[in-house]
């Protein structure tokens, strides 16, 4: 199909305009994709999580294309230059150019056949950049959130816990429950934890804190057990010493304790104190050694020495009690242990008067054997030596143990399984309030009475399971 030079020139100009507009649109689109991607990335790194709004940037691509086309249209070369290029490409020798201001139609017949010059756009680089820009924007949108928060080193608010643990360590060190070197190490560990704790990986921090807390608790618990044992021994020794003192006041009278019995009781007391091993362990107490030596001797202790021994025993008990009080203040020992400690140190429960009576009646030391004395110290009541021992006490101190007790089992109504749940949406933002016209229905539990076993069954999501287990975890007894 033949075409004249006028039409060919118009077609060439139109194609050139379209090509230049397309080229400019690709450039602007590329720039917009880069800008959009940068904005999205910056917003997400800054903590903006509602990517729905960020995706709306795609709608700005269309205005960018339109404005680019308009800008390219404004910058289009003047028609006379296009005409000149057409003249040159088609070797028209200036006749087409001259046609702008002169009548040259007569010469057109002598020109070569008209043809529209071909336009070649080497678009590889431009389209490549566009693809890269689009990929950048898409990556910025789809980047996982954990990667966008890599740069944010937010710290955990653990200063309160660390302070508490430091106080525990300090107390343990003051009470000589843990060595000073270990206490210093623990303090350094706590300081490092407080400094390096990251909210991005809290498990590590929590595990370390739990480990230190557990270590403190274990140390305190073992110290408490030791304290309870020593306090029991000291209380027994104190009871025997008091009984001996009461029996010795009657010395010389017919009803008083004779010398052989006193010596035998003193040896029993010495054996009791030796068995208590006050000098060993972390909570080591001390009894003056001369008192222990005289106690084991043949003469026993006189009145003054007995008073000293009683004071030493009371001081040791007081020290242990103070230690336990300090641990209890920091809640490093539980209430049961504290109660045990109090029970162990309670002299009123011992049968001091009965023992004194027994010692005064035990003439010649024949019947005053250590085992019997121990049993008198341990047992309570006011039984007489001839009546088969002290009577069984009736008190309300010992709690009923719940070990190995089975309760009647009841089958609870089935809770909704997670697999049956319907995912409505995942949002990290504050939950939105339902509209007023939406009625809240509680389904099968509608009108159910509270407390009747039909309570709200909370579905525990997998990511919360560990935290819940840790919260409800109890020490195994």
């Amino acid at each position: 199909m033949s075409i004249n030079h006028h039409d060919a020139l118009k077609t060439f100009a139109a194609r050139l305009a379209r090509l230049l507009m397309l080229r400019r649109a690709v450039q602007w689109l590329t720039v917009w994709f880069f800008i959009w991607g940068a904005i999205v990335l910056a917003a997400r790194v800054a903590g903006f999580t509602q990517t729905y709004w960020l995706t709306l940037g795609i709608f700005f691509a269309l205005p960018a294309i339109i404005f680019a086309a308009l800008a390219a249209r404004k910058e289009l070369p003047v028609f006379s230059k296009i005409r000149a290029r057409y003249d040159q490409i088609n070797s028209c020798g200036g006749i087409v150019m001259a046609n702008e201001t002169a009548e040259t139609s007569a010469w057109f017949a002598q020109l070569a056949p008209a043809s529209v010059p071909e336009l070649h756009w080497h678009s590889g680089r431009a389209l490549g950049m566009l693809f890269i820009a689009a990929a950048f924007a898409a990556t910025a949108l789809l980047l996982p959130e954990r990667l966008t928060h890599l740069g944010n080193q937010s710290h955990l608010a653990i200063s309160q816990i660390v302070d508490q643990l430091k106080a525990e360590v300090q107390t343990l060190a003051q009470e000589k429950i843990v060595p000073d070197t270990k206490a210093d190490d623990l303090k350094k560990q706590l300081a490092a934890l407080e400094k390096d704790s990251s909210a991005n990986d809290p498990n590590k921090t929590w595990e370390a804190l739990d480990h230190i807390k557990q270590a403190n608790s274990d140390s305190a618990k073992s110290a408490a057990e030791e304290a309870v044992k020593k306090t029991e021994s000291l209380t027994q020794a104190e009871t025997l010493a008091k009984a001996m003192e009461m029996a010795a006041e009657k010395n010389g009278a017919e009803s008083g304790m004779d010398g052989a019995t006193a010596a035998q009781a003193a040896q029993a007391l010495a054996a009791m104190l030796n068995a208590a091993k006050l000098e060993e362990g972390v909570l080591n107490g001390k009894i003056p050694p001369e008192l222990l030596a005289n106690l084991s001797g043949a003469e026993g202790l006189n009145q003054e020495q007995m008073e000293k021994l009683a004071k030493a025993l009371a001081a040791n008990k007081g020290a242990l009690s103070n230690t336990m009080s300090n641990l209890a203040n920091l809640k490093m020992i539980d209430a049961a242990t504290l109660a045990k400690m109090q029970a162990a140190g309670n002299k009123s429960k011992s049968n001091c008067e009965g023992l004194a009576l027994y010692l005064s009646q035990c003439k010649g030391g024949g019947k005053c054997e250590s085992d019997i004395l121990f049993s008198w110290v341990l047992k309570r009541g006011r039984g007489g030596p001839g009546g088969g021992g002290p009577e069984a006490p009736m008190d309300w101190d010992n709690d009923t143990s719940e070990a190995n007790i089975k309760f009647q089992e009841h089958v609870l109504p089935p809770s909704p399984h997670l697999s049956d749940a319907q995912l409505v949406g995942v949002s990290k933002a504050a939950p939105e309030l339902a509209k007023a016209d939406v009625s809240v229905e509680s389904g099968a539990l509608n009108n159910a009475a509270a407390g009747g076993g039909s309570g709200h069954a909370q579905v525990i999501l997998p990511e919360h399971r560990q935290a819940v287990q840790k919260f409800f975890k109890r020490d195994e007894k």
């Binding site: 050139l16 090509l19 230049l20 080229r23 070369p77 006379s80 230059k81 296009i82 005409r83 000149a84 290029r85 003249d87 040159q88 490409i89 088609n90 070797s91 028209c92 020798g93 200036g94 006749i95 150019m97 001259a98 702008e100 201001t101 002169a102 009548e103 040259t104 007569a106 010469w107 002598q110 043809s115 529209v116 010059p117 071909e118 336009l119 070649h120 756009w121 080497h122 678009s123 680089r125 431009a126």
Partner: protein
């Protein structure tokens, strides 16, 4: 009102005269078709041509043949160092009149002709060379306060020998600028030489079989004046000449490096006229970009003043112009580099 442009039937007679002239030249002088076209373009443009080449290449023969074909008066001056301006322009001679009085009578020099062959023009002294300035630019001679016009048309076809430069006086820039073309005479091919020695006994040239009448020459000049120069082409010529000046926005890197002074506005006029002549020789009523490209080098290569760095790097004006013409966008369309326009 639209500009007037020659119609095909108006251009056709002139084109036919050009064709016949070139045919005669090509027949008489073998192997120099392109040179013949350039010289004819120079004549049609009423410009002067500087022919540069070794002796024996046919410079004089070319000029003489043109004079014969166009039936123009032809004179030759062999320039020598002792040649005086009066030898060229003419002088006043004391003569006795019939009444017995004596008066100075002007005796015209050889410059009063249509075609003047100034052979080895660079051997004359600057004083004598300068005597040619007025004749070449004004087509007149002024002596003793009297200006005498030269016969029309008037062309100077000067020759210059590029060797044996001892005792020569290089043409001043002002005079070089008055030459429309500076055309290099190269050696002809062996085949042409064989044809010359086999067909031309003792090198004698054949006589022209056709000669142009004076009226036809006038008609040719009149047609030449009607060749249309489109605005984009005029703009291209202006940009091209401007680009020969170092520091110009469109100057190429070699121009900035090697050129001391670029071409003058007279060069732009010369290119436009020569391009018109080329369009007429090509049988077209308007000038195209290709016409400008063809005449640009012979017009510009003696108008660029190069620096010493160009001599060291053996850079010539011809190379500079070729590179400049190759790089400059004719239309000024300035399309992006990744967009190309190609013909089918």
């Amino acid at each position: 009102m639209p500009d007037q442009i020659l119609k095909p039937e108006e251009l056709q007679p002139a084109a036919e005269l050009v064709r016949k002239t070139l045919e005669q030249l090509d027949r008489i002088l073998l192997g120099r078709k392109e040179l013949h076209r350039l010289v004819l373009i120079g004549v049609l443009s009423r410009g002067h041509v500087l022919l540069e080449g070794l002796p024996g290449l046919g410079k004089t023969a070319l000029v003489r043949t043109i004079g014969q074909i166009m039936k123009l008066d032809f004179k030759r001056i062999q320039f020598t160092p002792d040649l005086m301006p009066g030898d060229v322009l003419g002088s006043h001679i004391l003569q006795e009149t019939g009444s017995g009085k004596r008066e100075l009578v002007f005796q015209p020099g050889p410059v009063f002709t249509n075609i003047l062959l100034a052979d080895e023009i660079n051997r004359a002294s600057p004083k004598t060379q300068s005597a040619m300035l007025e004749t070449m630019q004004e087509n007149s001679v002024t002596l003793l306060g009297t200006t005498r016009p030269l016969p029309q048309p008037f062309f100077v076809l000067a020759s210059q020998n590029p060797i044996e430069l001892e005792g020569t006086y290089p043409l001043p820039e002002a005079q070089l600028d008055r030459f429309l073309f500076r055309v290099m005479f190269d050696n002809v091919d062996a085949e042409v030489l064989e044809q010359i020695i086999s067909e031309r006994r003792r090198g004698e040239l054949p006589s022209p079989t056709w000669q142009m009448e004076r009226a036809q020459l006038e008609m040719l000049f009149a047609t030449m004046g009607k060749i249309y120069l489109p605005t984009p082409v005029a703009r291209y010529i202006a940009r091209l000449v401007s680009a020969t000046h170092p520091g110009n926005a469109e100057a190429t890197e070699p121009v900035n490096k090697y050129v001391s002074y670029g071409a003058s506005p007279r060069a732009a006029i010369a290119i436009a006229e020569a391009a018109r002549g080329h369009a007429l020789v090509s049988g077209r009523p308007s000038v195209g970009f290709e016409d400008v490209k063809i005449v640009a080098q012979p017009v510009l290569n003696h108008r660029l003043i190069l620096n010493y760095q160009a001599r060291f790097d053996r850079m010539t004006p011809a190379k500079l112009v070729t590179e400049l013409v190759g790089q400059l966008d004719e239309t000024g369309l300035n399309l992006p580099k990744d967009v190309q326009v190609k013909g089918n």
